[in-house]
Symmetry: C2
Subunit: 225 residues, 2 copies
């Protein structure tokens, strides 16, 4: 039984932030043999790629770096002419939104998974303490799973490929708590959109991250390391 569990294979999308790192360690705890996909897509915070590689190594996982030239850069996360905004949580989708990013990443992940015979793809998306990105919500993943089912050989002739979102309903507080339990090296993770030497503390990603630590009465280890 143990051997069968150990032979499960998964692809994990790893950005280098705390959500994806927690997801990776969760997949490892569930005995998946994991290959991480790390995307270099022109993000200002390329600093996260270094974190992602370190986290993959810490988890003793293979990783594959995918270099991707986004077809257009209509996002403050990509375009140097647009400033990363301060957190506002106005209910409107902020300028850091990257058009169809998770759709592109997961399409590539599905292609990779199908090619190497893997049927599970993990992504650390969550839609409680988040920026309102439409491609982080449950209804997006439900629909994409159906699309992959009807649009791939694995779905039509085999048992299919499934995108798994174990954090989707978790708050940042719960994610940090889970990560602590799983031994996630939070000191290696990177969340700040600005990607300078130290986190800015005021972008939406920084604010959400701090919420997770503060609500657990903790100091973010990335700030003290």
């Amino acid at each position: 039984m143990r051997h069968r569990l150990a032979s499960k294979k998964a692809v994990v999308l790893l950005s280098g932030g705390l959500d994806s790192a927690t997801t990776l360690f969760l997949a490892k705890e569930k005995k998946y043999d994991v290959t991480c996909l790390i995307f270099d897509y022109g993000q200002k915070h390329r600093r996260e790629i270094i974190s992602a590689k370190l986290i993959a190594k810490k988890a003793k996982c293979d990783f594959k770096l995918i270099k991707l030239k986004m077809p257009a850069i209509a996002s403050s996360l990509l375009d140097k002419k647009i400033k990363i905004p301060e957190a506002h949580f106005s209910g409107r989708i902020p300028s850091t939104y990257v058009p169809a990013r998770n759709l592109i990443f997961l399409s590539i992940a599905a292609s990779f998974a199908e090619s190497i015979g893997v049927d599970s793809i993990f992504i650390g998306a969550n839609a409680i303490d988040f920026s309102g990105y439409p491609d982080c919500r449950a209804q997006f993943f439900t629909s994409l799973n159906k699309t992959i089912q009807v649009g791939t050989r694995a779905g039509v002739e085999g048992k299919g490929i499934k995108i798994l979102t174990p954090l989707i309903k978790k708050s940042k507080k719960q994610i940090v708590k889970l990560g602590l339990k799983l031994g996630v090296p939070f000191e290696l993770t990177w969340s700040c959109y600005k990607g300078a030497k130290i986190p800015c503390g005021i972008c939406e990603s920084c604010v959400l991250r701090q919420k997770g630590f503060i609500e657990n009465y903790l100091i973010d280890p990335a700030l003290s390391s």
Copy 2:
């Protein structure tokens, strides 16, 4: 009215084959202002990219060449170690199937369309005289349209982005007939998977193409040019 029609914008996926060329000329006839997306994804028949560029120029359209390194090459269309098979139409998906190809292409097209404010994406997929690729069937596009609706800002806050498949129910005979009516420069199109100097005539793509011309009592102009 004419002016309003002229301001409609679309993205057309242009491979350089007869289906995508016919789709491009159909979009032009419908007065769309078109940007073509041409993908260089490691296909053996890179020859088609030259055709695609010539066709875009002939149609007086802008084009954008997207270079894409596929995450794995589990396809005879990409892997030099696997031979392109002869046409067999066995009902099984042939080795020329590229895992999640249309999903990747259309995800990138959706990102591009959303970034530049375009709401229509044309693809020349058809599922009558075809190789049984799951991502060429109507149910795939229906599902992907829903996924794009729930997964993009355009879908959530705007009027959305729609993938249009005007050839989906057409036979090759009908596509060639339509292309002739629209003035498609068939002599510039390229279909053969092998991508040598002249079409092999025996791969599935060649055989389907010839079916289209023969059923219209025509000689393929690409053979005589």
